[in-house]
């Protein structure tokens, strides 16, 4: 199996396991406020890291290129409360314009 398929199947199986376990374990297990707080913060930390790494690095190097401009436009769109598709398409068009016409 290719690494791509291993990731697809492995991530899918574990994602379902988490969803199913949640509906099956006793309520008291995860009711602790620490667990609730960590649970809120985990996606924030991971998504922030994903934004940073996908915008400013290539393999193991820092790169400042059209992606940073695209993400800057995305930030402006989010501040202006634009809907998600506008944010993504705006970023993509910005980076495409800079990439093709610089």
């Amino acid at each position: 199996m290719s690494p791509g398929w291993i990731a697809v199947i492995g991530a899918s199986v574990l994602a379902f396991a988490l969803k199913y376990i949640g509906s099956s374990i006793p309520q008291s297990w995860l009711a602790h406020s620490r667990i609730q707080r960590i649970n809120t913060l985990v996606p924030i930390a991971l998504l922030s890291a994903l934004v940073a790494v996908q915008t400013l690095t290539d393999k193991t190097k820092f790169v400042l290129d059209q992606r940073a401009a695209g993400v800057a436009v995305a930030i402006a769109a989010l501040i202006a409360k634009a809907p998600f598709p506008v944010v993504v398409v705006g970023a993509a068009i910005t980076s495409a314009l800079i990439c093709n016409f610089k």
């Binding site: 809120t40 985990v42 924030i44 598709p85 944010v87 980076s95």
Partner: protein
């Protein structure tokens, strides 16, 4: 409430276009994009799988990042379990559609009956639209050739940012976001791709534990 469910299902489902296109841009196949939307069915985790591997990360780091992002679904399931009270096949189907949106609409209702309806309508609705739009996005991206050659590569970080933005409220959340950006960028030159991202889970554990 049905109209709420439909609106949420359609607008969220439409993000599937961005996912389908991002999968192709990161060298996944149309089939792989569709399997992720059908089986994994959790937006942030799906973007993480294609994003981490597209950036040169291993399958293991892609799976780990996706799974850490999926832990919140377990807590949604825990929160909803006494209201939904599912058994057997219904629990399996219900588990698959336990995501941000179905939980959000369910918890916004006032009676148990409405919560159950909100959960099922929204979950099934998002599932249907998300999968339809994933196919459209993947086929569309395939049709224009290699999307990264067009310089469309800001789409993936912008999608992550769009998923992150509504979660940034209290000062603590901004601090965690800032720390994660600094830690992931500082680790990037020294460790394999994907590891800087997973490492940031530690920040949330430390901050969540201490307070």
């Amino acid at each position: 409430m049905k109209r709420d469910s439909f609106t949420v299902a359609f607008t969220v489902g439409a993000y599937g276009i961005a996912f389908g296109a991002a999968a192709i841009a990161n060298h996944f196949t149309v089939a792989q994009a569709c399997v992720l939307s059908l089986l994994l069915f959790s937006g942030a985790s799906q973007f993480a799988v294609v994003g981490v591997m597209g950036a040169g990360g291993s399958a293991v780091s892609a799976i780990a990042t996706s799974t850490l992002l999926g832990t919140r679904n377990a807590l949604y399931g825990l929160r909803l379990a006494p209201i939904l009270n599912h058994r057997g096949m219904k629990r399996i189907l219900g588990a698959q559609i336990t995501i941000d949106e179905s939980t959000g609409v369910a918890l916004a209702q006032s009676t148990d009956e409405e919560m159950r309806k909100g959960f099922w309508f929204t979950g099934i609705g998002v599932f249907i639209f998300w999968n339809i739009f994933t196919v459209l996005g993947a086929l569309g991206a395939k049709a224009i050739g290699d999307p990264s050659a067009w310089g469309l590569d800001a789409a993936v970080p912008a999608a992550f940012l769009g998923l992150l933005w509504p979660r940034l409220k209290a000062r603590e959340t901004w601090a965690v976001a800032g720390a994660a950006i600094i830690l992931s960028l500082s680790l990037t030159p020294f460790v394999p791709a994907g590891v800087p991202i997973i490492s940031c889970a530690l920040i949330s554990i430390i901050v969540g534990w201490r307070k």
